[in-house]
Amino acid sequence: MSNILNFFTSLRLTVACLALALGLVFIGTLAQVKLGLYVVQDQFFNSYLIWWGPAGSNFKIPVYPGGYLIGGVLLINLIAAHIKRFELSRKKIGIFVIHAGLILLLVGQLVTQLFQVESFMTIEEGGSRNYSESGRMSELAVIDKTDPQTDLVVAIPQPILQHRKEVAAKSLPFKIKVDSFYDHSIPELAGSKLLFKQEALRTSMNARNIPAASVTIETDSGNFGPFTVSNWLSEDQLVSDIATSFESRFAPNLVAPPSFKYKGHEYQLFMRPIRYYKPFTMQLMHFAHDRYMGTEIAKNFSSRIKLLRPETGENREVLIYMNNPLRYWGETYYQGSFLPNDAGTVLQVVRNPSWLTPYIACALVGAGLVIQFMSHLIKFARKRSAGSAGFQPAVSPVSRQAAH
């Protein structure tokens, strides 16, 4: 038992973990060139072990500890060592504050990792939105179009489609069978039909994966389908991409979303980026893209937004620009990007319940470091001014004689 305790409280473990962490960050940085940021985040930093196997085979072995493992052991080490050696003295206060800050930082990042949701809100100038969309994940929306006033939507997120053969939802009178699911696809024209071919995942920062799936609707009285669903069929930009690449062979009915009638209800199937609805609407009044005179260098991007929230009667204007986000409704709205020809804005929306922790942690660690090193420095200065005999200039003749 004491062996285990000694192991987990030892400074050697700290040093070993730090060395491993350095290696991890280093290879994780180099690997981004080939794998792209997101894959590296998943495989290196947000994982317990890094797996490796020869290309093309399913055989894989763990080759290096991942971020969670190293971070976790460091955290245990840190807490255990402090419990074991804890003493409240002026000498140790700096060290204690530093490490308390570090623990807060690590825990805060873990919470961020688990609960942070990132999405985008794209608004054309003059247009408005009451939802943001995921940049990486899609959902299958089953839309009940029967009521001309309101659509009833049941959305099934991509991870469920990827991993389940069959999906049932309480609010749907039928089951959805997933025949196949491609994480990334490209459209192909086969005769007069549009087919989707599976493609290798794209990993670079700005590349997007566009999923496609084939689903069958299973009811008690028989099946509908199979239907092909994909973002290719539902997003304006992607539809126009298809139209451009197929030129004259393109016809609008190729991209019509699949629909069917069941028990007097009319349903449509849409694959689209996951939507996060808000209790308010944002209207883009003006998007500005300023450049430095005589150059193409961007000087500033800004979005003048009208924020409308019926339940509270809010109706106000906000200006979101670089380095000046809007924090509202537990979310933060940043100036993320813009539409081609400056036709509109793309706001990045982040919901992060622990966004304040790094600020507090930074203050703690910074203060701790200053306290600690300043007390060292003062002690050192005192020693030097007090005992000049003990501390002659290191290579002066006097000290040289003293050495012999």
Binding site: L11, R12, T14, V15, L18, A21, L22, V25, F26, T29, Q32, V33, L37, V40, Q41, F45, L105, T112, Q116, E118, S204, R291, Y292, M293, G294, T295, I297, A298, K299, F301, M322, N323, P325, T332, Y334, G336, Q348, V349, V350, W355, P358, A361, C362, V365, G366, L369, F373, F380, R384, Q392, P393, A394, V395, S396, P397, S399, R400, Q401, A403, H404
Partner: protein
């Protein structure tokens, strides 16, 4: 021979001779005078008031700058130097004596020549081509580096043919610059250089003109009748202008001529007619095109025409009066621009960072000499020179901040300047405390190296370029960037101190216990500071990221680079506290810290991915590898058994840290 004994004999301190007392001051004052003598803008000996012309404000790259900066930056991009050697043969064919005697033409004089006497200018050897394949491809002699426009213009069509498709691909993002071969990059570079030269030729007046003033007079006379005729046609509802009409024809000819000029001209030299629209400068062609609409020619165009004609025809009096007249005219509505460019022109001539290199180098040499002769006057000379260097360096830094209106670090170039400055300050503090030459030598060495790096970075263009929108925030530039750069400084200082320990201990007998212990204390103290700066800087960066794109941490390469410095600092401190390393182990870890810091500073930019990347640097990569290798060699030496160390090998010689605290006695390799 027993060296220890020798030193012991010399140890009894002889009284200082009088020359030893004044020598340090004399050297420092001479260097200070040398600096001051360069502060006056170089008076060209010609009868032309080129210095006055140099200060005229123009707009380029989104900022107001003097003509002098345009000239210097252009010449740096072409030739890699801010002067041109005046000779009738390529400089490779000149003998050493001829070369050193050859006249050096300042950039601004060269630019005037390019703009007004193209037939002379194109014989100057201002294009530097390093890539052998490019030379072969253009059938140019391999044994030369510098070429003239006259030699290259034949081959430009061929260069263009290869470069244009590459540029298109780059623009469509089908390839990234780092994926190109060295030859392809060489071709692109040459194409850019030739393009730049062509633009410069067209910046003041159209080419093939004997008198631009006369041309403008004809233009002005034809404007009124031409425009009237055009207006009449429009009123009569004729869709096609009557091309037979002489006055319309005349305007049309000018229209085409100035349209071409508008495309070709480089800096925006004509100030706005309406001083309220301060940013709306135009190039000469664009201004003339505007004249066709407004029937008015800007007074600035007239003034430039006079200057161009006078310089082209070698009439110094006309040139000088035109320059004076124009400057007087500008100083009314554009007084603030005039003041700004006068300052920048002064700064260009001042060259504080280049001059600091020489002073630091001298300080370094005296510092090293001190370890050989152990005479206090040597150390004092080094220290005074170092102070002079840091004063010059600081003044340059402040001047730059003042001109650019920015915190000290805005790009890679200024980070190099600042790393050197931070190291200088730390070194001076160490030297003040220990007075053993170590801090001084460290400050001087890091200063020289970082300023040389900065000089090489400045070759890629304007170092005060405008900042991308996300970087356009003085608060974060002043906090995160400055603090993180100070972290780099302290890491390099700690690393260099460790190098001194290894080199002196292994190769010389000068690393006595006192010196070893002092070095070890210095290194420890500096690592503490490095930890503070790197940690706070990294977290501030995270907070900036949280403020500007919504996430505190994203494992972006630049962020990772900062993080590994923090991790490495933490590792060094914990390893030392835990007794896992002693003196030599600490030194080895700090030398590895150099590799870690260099990776963070430069290595991540070479990965070519991530939001922060500054661009790919071919040459820098080779240097980085060489640096890393040298550091690994030193670490290898640090791990050699003590019997091979000159300072420690004799059995009677004291072992390092013998007198240190109980936890630090003995000198074992890294592991305890």
């Amino acid at each position: 021979m027993n060296k220890t004994k020798d030193r012991k004999n010399s140890a009894s301190k002889p009284p200082e001779k009088s020359w030893q007392r004044w020598f340090p001051w004399a050297v420092t004052i001479i260097m200070a005078l040398w600096v001051i003598s360069g502060m006056k803008t170089e008076k060209s000996k010609s009868a032309f008031q080129i210095d006055e012309f140099a200060k005229i404000p123009v707009l380029l790259g989104g900022r107001i700058q003097p003509f002098d900066s345009v000239a210097r930056n252009a010449l740096l991009m072409l030739r890699g130097k801010s002067r041109v050697i005046v000779a009738d043969r390529p400089q490779e064919e000149l003998g050493f004596l001829e070369l050193s005697k050859a006249k050096q033409m300042p950039a601004i004089e060269w630019l005037l020549e390019v703009m007004t006497r193209p037939e002379d200018a194109e014989k100057r050897y201002v294009f530097r081509i390093d890539n052998l394949e490019v030379l072969n491809d253009l059938k140019l002699p391999e044994n030369r580096k510098y070429f003239s426009f006259a030699e290259l213009k034949e081959g430009w069509a061929e260069v263009k043919k290869q470069a244009d498709p590459l540029n298109e691909k780059l623009q469509r993002k089908e390839v990234e610059e780092k994926q190109l071969t060295a030859f392809q990059r060489g071709i692109l570079r040459l194409n850019t250089q030739l393009g730049l030269y062509f633009q410069l030729e067209n910046s003041l007046r159209p080419q093939n003109v004997s008198s631009f003033t006369e041309e403008l007079q004809v233009f002005q006379q034809s404007l009124a009748p031409g425009l009237a005729a055009l207006q009449k046609m429009q009123m009569n509802g004729e869709m096609q202008p009557d091309v037979e009409n002489g006055s319309v024809q005349a305007v049309a000819r000018f229209f085409h001529r100035y349209q071409v000029l508008e495309q070709a001209a480089y800096p925006l030299i004509i100030p706005p007619d309406d001083p309220a629209k301060r940013d709306h400068w135009l190039n000469i062609g664009a201004s003339l095109m505007a004249s066709i609409r407004s029937a008015q020619i800007s007074p600035a165009v007239w003034a430039y025409a006079k200057m161009a004609d006078a310089y082209g025809d070698n009439k110094s009096e006309d040139f000088n009066s035109a320059v004076t007249e124009y400057r007087n005219w500008l100083s009314g509505p554009f007084a603030s621009e005039m003041r700004k460019t006068a300052k920048e022109d002064f700064f260009n001539a001042y060259e504080p960072f280049i001059k600091s290199i020489s002073i630091y180098l001298l300080a370094f040499l005296f510092g090293c000499a001190f370890w050989i002769n152990w005479s206090p006057w040597t150390r004092r000379t080094a220290f005074y020179l170092l102070l002079l260097g840091i004063v010059l360096h600081t003044s340059g830094l402040i001047f730059r901040m003042y001109i650019a209106g920015r915190p000290p670090v805005t790009n890679l170039y200024s980070s190099a300047i600042f790393v050197g400055w931070g190291a200088g300050i730390l070194g001076i503090i160490l030297e003040r405390i220990w007075k053993d030459g170590i801090g001084g030598v460290t400050a001087a060495a890091v200063g020289v190296v970082t300023l040389i790096i900065a000089h090489n970075l400045s070759l890629s263009g304007d170092t005060m370029e405008m900042l991308q929108a996300v970087l356009d925030t003085n608060i974060w530039l002043a906090t995160h960037v400055v603090v993180i750069t100070l972290g780099y400084s302290s890491m390099f200082v700690a690393g260099f101190l460790a190098m001194l320990y290894i080199v002196r201990g292994f190769f010389t007998t000068t690393l006595l216990p006192g010196a070893a212990k002092a070095l070890s204390r210095m290194v420890y103290g500096i690592v503490c500071f490095a930890t503070l700066f790197s940690f706070v800087g990294t977290i501030l960066g995270g907070i900036w990221a949280d403020q500007s794109w919504g996430r505190f941490w994203g494992w972006d390469p630049k962020e990772n680079g900062a993080l590994i410095i923090v991790i490495w600092c933490a590792l060094i401190l914990h390893a030392r506290w835990g007794g896992l390393v002693r003196e030599r182990g600490l030194m080895a870890l700090c030398i590895f810290g150099n590799i870690v810091t260099a990776f963070s500073w430069f290595g991540v930019n070479m990965l070519g991915v991530g939001l922060h990347s500054y661009g790919w640097m071919d040459q820098a990569f080779k240097w980085l590898m060489a640096f890393d290798f040298s550091q690994l060699v030193l670490i290898g030496i640090a791990l050699m058994p003590l019997r091979y160390w000159k300072s420690f090998k004799s059995p009677s010689a004291p072992r390092p840290a013998a007198a240190a605290s109980p936890g630090l006695t003995g000198a074992k390799p890294i592991t305890a």
